[in-house]
């Protein structure tokens, strides 16, 4: 391996700007004073050499080469005042970019050369460590206590089942009622006459239904006669005499 092959190893460069910076630094220490034209020449010569050795050259290097070739011709040819940006401006921008990259490269080198913790200076190897002991401060409101007690009392109170009073007339009740009323009735009487006078709403409906069933039962026993002119016409009851 000779030196040329090594310097042509493009893997060693981090892109065209990196390569340009390396070439520029070979020219001068102060990047402000470099010759952009000479730098362009060097870059193009470098790539030509790479290509003549049939090395693969990444696309971004070729793009930069094309741009530099353009810059070179613009710098050499008589200046066209119409053209903006001027080749001098382009050259200046390139120089500014190189300066900035160079500045950061040097800053990085100075940074990593500092006395670094864990490499040059060391923290205590076996610190005892600091501990935070947590204490809980418990929170509750008086309402929570009272409500909880209510909840427990409700839960543990003896459970009593009360069947609520329902407004119904049982069949037994209706049988007794209709039977006793018929004893004092001699003529035909509408079934409604046998209902309690004060019965209203659900209770009246229940009394009517039970009295109707009672009437059927009494008729079946042969104790009363029933009479109805037509469906849904008033129903008449009379004791069998």
């Amino acid at each position: 391996m000779d030196a040329d092959t090594l310097t042509l190893d493009l893997d060693g460069w981090e892109g065209p700007l990196d390569l340009l910076l390396a070439l520029a630094r070979n020219q001068k220490v102060d990047l402000k004073a470099i010759s952009i034209l000479a730098l362009v020449e060097q870059y193009l010569a470098f790539l030509d050499q790479a290509r003549s050795l049939k090395l693969e050259v990444a696309a971004d290097y070729l793009v930069m080469a094309a741009w530099l070739a353009y810059l070179k011709s613009a710098l050499l040819l008589p200046r066209n005042p119409e053209e903006t940006p001027s080749p001098e401006d382009l050259a200046l921008r390139l120089q500014l970019r190189l300066e900035r990259l160079n500045a950061m490269r040097e800053a990085g080198a100075r940074l990593v050369a500092r006395d670094r913790l864990g490499r040059d200076v060391f923290p205590r190897g076996a610190p005892e460590g600091l501990k935070a002991v947590r204490h809980a401060r418990w929170e509750a409101e008086i309402y929570d206590i009272i409500a909880a007690y209510g909840r427990i009392s409700a839960r543990s109170r003896p459970v009593m089942h009360v069947v609520a009073h329902r407004d119904v007339m049982t069949l037994e009740e209706a049988l007794a009622r209709v039977s006793s009323l018929l004893e004092t009735t001699v003529t035909w009487a509408m079934i409604e006459k046998f209902l309690p006078a004060d019965a209203t709403g659900g209770y009246r409906k229940s009394a009517l239904a039970s009295s109707f069933v009672a009437a059927l039962e009494l008729a079946k026993q042969g104790k009363i006669d029933l009479r109805q002119a037509s469906p849904f016409a008033p129903l008449y009851l009379r004791a069998v005499s």
Binding site: F122, P123, R124, G125, A126, E128, G129, L130, K131, A132, V133, R134, H135, A136, R137, W138, E139, A140, E141, I142, D144, I145, I146, A147, A148, Y149, G150, R151, I152, S153, A154, R155, S156, R157
Partner: protein, 191 residues
């Protein structure tokens, strides 16, 4: 700086950075075999005596450690506010209304077992205290509320706790499902 000083500094740094106590021989591996490590150690012991950090020897090995009298500084207390669990609140309520009560009595009233942790939390909060033993078989511990309980909940005395009648009037004694129905009916009426 004299050479003695420089050995002392070196020993100091080596011991400080070491991850485990070192023998004089271990130290010599770092600072040089010719160095008067023992002399440097003696000087350092004297230099650190009475400071917040001390150089000590244990079984032939040397290390720095924080002064024993300052150990309490290495831990600090951090307070966290936490809400009492439902079991905690219920247990506290039963103790407040029935004190003094034993754990078995609390369980009988709650209808659920009381975890030991629940009582511990209430004890830690300073709201209940053991109040002797019930003179029944097994002599169970009985619990009562504390002055801290009264002041935390803004009560002048336990008599300030609303009675069962008050709770009933406030609807707090209704079984949950009934209370729910009432609430629903009410909102129906509101419509």
């Amino acid at each position: 700086m004299t050479p003695a000083d420089s050995i002392e500094r070196a020993v100091e740094a080596v011991l400080f950075a070491a991850e485990a106590p070192l023998t004089a021989q271990d130290i010599r591996l770092h600072v040089g075999t010719a160095a008067d490590v023992e002399g440097a150690l003696a000087t350092l012991v004297a230099r650190y005596a009475g400071r917040g950090v001390e150089l000590v020897e244990r079984g032939g090995r040397w290390h720095f450690q924080t002064a024993a009298d300052l150990a309490h500084l290495l831990r600090r207390d951090r307070e966290e506010t936490r809400k009492l669990s439902r079991a905690g609140i219920e247990t506290l309520a039963i103790i407040a209304y029935h004190e003094p009560v034993s754990r078995a009595e609390i369980e009988a009233i709650r209808g659920v077992q009381v975890a030991k942790g629940t009582l511990d939390v209430l004890l830690e909060a300073g709201w209940i205290r053991p109040a002797g033993r019930r003179e029944v078989p097994g002599r169970p511990l009985i619990y009562a509320t504390t002055a801290g309980f009264l002041s935390h909940f803004g009560l002048a005395s336990r008599r300030d706790l609303p009675g069962l009648d008050d709770l009933r009037a406030a609807g707090l004694l209704d079984p949950v499902d009934l209370a729910f129905e009432n609430a629903v009916e009410k909102s129906d009426e509101d419509d």
